[in-house]
Amino acid sequence: MQNLDDLLYRWISRANERREDLDLPVGLIEDSIGVLKRVLGTEYLEQLLIDDVEPVHFLDDELNPIRKWLSSPTVDYSIIQVLEVAQYFKELQDDSSLPDKVQKLKQDSFWPMLFELAMATRVRRASSQKHKITLNAEDASSVGDFLISGDGYSIPCECSRLGHSPHITDPKLLLEDLTHRISEGAKRVAVPLCVKIRSGAALSGNTYNVVLRLIRRSFADARQLQLPVEYVSDSINVRFEVLGEHSEEIGYQNVEGMSWTYLTQTGTLPRVSAGFQRKTQTSYRTDLRPVNGFVTMKVSVSL
């Protein structure tokens, strides 16, 4: 029988190997795991990490993010997001409604709750003495998810999410997701991989599902080193080969001034979140202008 503290200790030890690269001070990882354990509870973490014996499959969208992250201490985005969640818990720990949010987060609403906590924390950090930011209880009488209180007035803030369903059909998001999945899956294969996906059909929800199925089958073979492997369904062809000097060259894609290939990404960037590779420029802009009775203040952080 595994012990939760042993599991968490191992996670801390492995995550600490990445500490300097991730610009994290000594002790932060240990402290954050302590906060996570205290706020989420030992019983919940044992249920996720010990009682649940289903294999942690990184291609599984339905997997609890906390379980996925606490099962992958060598993956940067896991470490970063565990610490981020713990930081929100730390900053909001004096709020009497935090337990309500945590309860909902543990049940079925991880990403919506993360968004609420992230936004409430950010508004709280930015608030001066003029405003007080408090979480609202998760009950029918509450208006909004958190409240901004000023001198003699209050403003309820309601949080929501648009379009993070696994069935979304945006080709760009799907492409990024596929790249990410391949990047993750390639880490569990002992040899460098050359992955080729060719489809006559556009990348839609349906295409994505077929490609994903073929990728999963290919990875299962690749983990057994049964390479090359090729699966075909309709107009979709997925081929996995060992990456070598004689591998087919893949054309470079220029993304915001930086040339790179998906091949390079999966083959040589094993520790980096796939997302930020697309964004290589830093810019920051504030645009304030009145339009038809509304003022639009667009502030975007571009990378």
Binding site: P25, A118, V123, S154, L203, K279, M297, K298
Partner: protein, 145 residues
């Protein structure tokens, strides 16, 4: 990876308007409240949106609401500092913004902090964005055999 060309593009703007209308209707405020703010996490890149269409989409949802103070769109993104931040697009009611300018200032600070503050350490980023990009590329190099 090579895929065929998509036939039809999804209309994010219509979806956004529908989502906002729904949330605005659901969030009923009382006398003690000055107004309400709706924050929506979106899946599309705010840098790539058509600003005019986005403004119209937001306005189409909020124009008949007298109690909406602001609508904030947020996109969660990984960045070269090896953190996740939210790119933000905030639209304020002009009337509300004139009466409570401190709330506009509050959300301006929220947005500016996204570029400056480490969300985990809650302190200024140790590197500039350019330095972070260089650092990220260095640590992303292949591990020597």
């Amino acid at each position: 990876m090579k895929f065929g060309e998509p036939e039809n593009q999804i209309d994010y703007y219509d979806r956004l308007t529908a989502k906002l209308k729904k949330k605005l209707n659901q969030t009923k405020i009382s006398k003690e409240h000055f107004g309400k703010i709706i924050l929506v996490e979106v899946s599309f890149d705010l840098r790539l949106v058509d600003d005019d269409r986005l403004r119209k989409a937001v306005r189409a949802a909020a124009t008949h609401s007298r109690t909406t103070l602001a609508i904030v769109l947020a996109k969660r993104e990984a960045n070269p500092h090896m953190r996740y931040h939210y790119s933000l697009s905030t639209t304020f009611s002009q009337t509300g913004a004139a009466i409570k300018p401190e709330v506009v200032e509050l959300f301006e600070r929220v947005a500016k902090n996204e570029a400056a503050l480490d969300p985990i350490l809650c302190s200024a980023y140790q590197r500039s964005w350019d330095q972070a990009q260089v650092h990220a590329q260095q640590i992303a190099k292949p591990i020597p055999e």
